[in-house]
Amino acid sequence: MGAPMRDDLVVARGIAVAYGGKRRLGGERVGAVTVLHDVDIRVGRGETVGIVGESGSGKTTLGRALLRLIDIDAGAIVFDGRDITGLPESQMRPLRRRMQMIFQDPMTSLNPRRTVRRILVEPLLFHRVARDGADAERRVRQFFDRVAMPAACLDRTPHELSGGQRQRVGIARAALLEPDFVLADEIVSGLDVSTQAQALSLLKTLTHDLGLAMAFISHDLSVIRAICDRVYVMQGGRVVEEGRCEDVFAAPRSRYTQLLIDAIPLPEIDPGWLDRDVAPEIE
């Protein structure tokens, strides 16, 4: 991976995460399932990095590990030059403003009993990003204008909004805190193509305008291509390939990456596609 560069915001080395198993008296763990093996990943300031893999690849776990939302069993995470690997939660909390997350399903990630206004304003007041309620309201409305959301949505609860609007609220919640780093976990999966395009375009503009670094998790290589600068390809809890998007997609070095690329049907007639390089069918 090379020495960390000065403009790296997030640097993680040797990340290992395991679930389950029992702890023996000696402190060792037995029977645990390892979800991440020795993963190295870095995200530069202002850079959008894709993390792609199929189900079970460990990409979601990696994302949450980077944000220290789950415990890691080995490795180190450095955020803006500071080692946050073993940081107690009380010291992590003030730091969290700078590392935010956007979730896949806004229905479950927005508190159903809250109005949109409260969902967006409270974090701003909590972290003192806004001076007071009026300032917070102003910021929220400004953001809504920017993403073409009607201000009337502020008084609604999440299930009273459309899918695309809910997704924009999720993005707003993260962006309004003016973080340095955002983790986007499968945020456009399940959206209509047109709504997805809107969300991706918004994300691209936003990360550019705010200078955000982003880790974008997806199972969809095409989506990754649309907005990411670099990509990490994961399989079975390991990184099997990493590099700039144009390089990886044009000339993948890993056979697995090639397999993933080949699995995507393009909207063009390609008679040989179905027979090309398919994984062994027998299950």
Binding site: V193, Q198, H219, I264, L266, D275
Partner: protein
């Protein structure tokens, strides 16, 4: 088209609730024997409703207000119960979207796979079992005996989808309706399943209606495409033509809105509001619909 196997003529379906909202507007489509027709559209376009009408599982809250669905001399919208039971699930079968929920978690695979054979063809259980084993072989499941004994949760998503495909083809239907059968699967698994569907289709000479939102999938599997919006058919024609030279601006915009791994700037342009607005006006006025078939 000579003698389509299925002919939808001016089918209109509306909600039975107070608003009488139209769900399908004068949809006309023809399906040739052995042909693969892709039903494409965004969510809410009406593709599921059309699929359900073909399978006889329209919810009670909606009604057919106009038109007919002609199959084998019957109008599928107005069938008597006995005829309905003979056709739906038999001559017309379903490959469902979600392999997790489509199988009964409390019954072994053998039971679920042989149900149709035993109940509808009156085949005895040992012969049904033999047929089931052969079907599992066709869908390339490596240990069919083990699969038959298993419960759904013991199998992977891809395996379950293969079993559902086997079940769909079990009664040698004339038409299969595949309702987004690969949406819930990983891309690599999707490719295998698509390949399997193509092979089964060719072997059994079954026509297939493939519901999907993915133009890429349609391009690889379907002979013709019908694009729906707000319950109306916007464009319909051979796949190669529609993809290479779409006639309607909505079709063009929708194809362009999808991201592509070979183009760094694709997938960032939603369908323009103006195109959608224009389309809504067209649909409401019910003109400008190209002929299907």
């Amino acid at each position: 088209m000579n003698d389509p196997i299925l002919s939808v003529r001016n089918l209109s379906i509306a909600s039975g609730l107070e608003d009488r909202a139209p769900i399908l507007r004068r949809v006309s489509l023809d399906l040739a024997p052995g042909e693969a027709l892709g039903l494409v559209g965004e969510s809410g376009a009406g593709k599921s409703t059309l699929a359900k009408a073909l399978l006889g599982v329209l919810p009670r809250t909606v009604h057919i207000t106009e038109g007919e669905i002609l199959f084998d001399g019957h109008d599928l919208g107005r069938l008597a119960r006995r005829e309905a039971r003979a056709i739906f699930g038999d001559a017309i079968a379903l490959i469902p979207q979600d392999p997790t929920t489509a199988l009964n978690p409390g019954r072994r695979i053998e039971a679920q796979l042989t149900d149709g054979l035993r109940l509808r063809r009156g085949i005895g259980s040992s012969e049904a079992r033999a047929r089931a084993l052969s079907l599992l072989g066709e869908v390339r499941i490596s240990d069919p005996e083990r699969a038959l004994r298993a419960y759904p949760h013991q199998l992977s998503g891809g395996m379950r989808q293969r079993i559902l495909i086997a079940a769909a083809f079990a009664l040698e239907p004339k038409i299969i309706v595949a309702d987004e059968p690969t949406t819930a699967l990983d891309a690599t698994v999707q490719k295998q399943i698509l390949r399997l569907i193509r092979r089964m289709r060719e072997a059994h000479r079954t026509a297939i209606i493939f519901v999907t939102h993915d133009f890429g999938v349609v391009a690889q599997i379907c002979d013709r495409i019908a694009l729906l919006f707000a319950g109306a058919v916007i464009e319909c024609g051979p796949t190669a033509e529609v993809l290479a030279a779409p006639k309607h601006p909505y079709t063009r915009a929708l194809i362009a809105a999808a991201p592509r791994y070979d183009r760094p700037n694709a997938g960032l342009a939603p369908v323009p509001e103006s195109v959608v607005a224009q389309l809504r006006i067209e649909v409401a006025a019910d003109h400008g619909r190209p002929d299907a078939g």
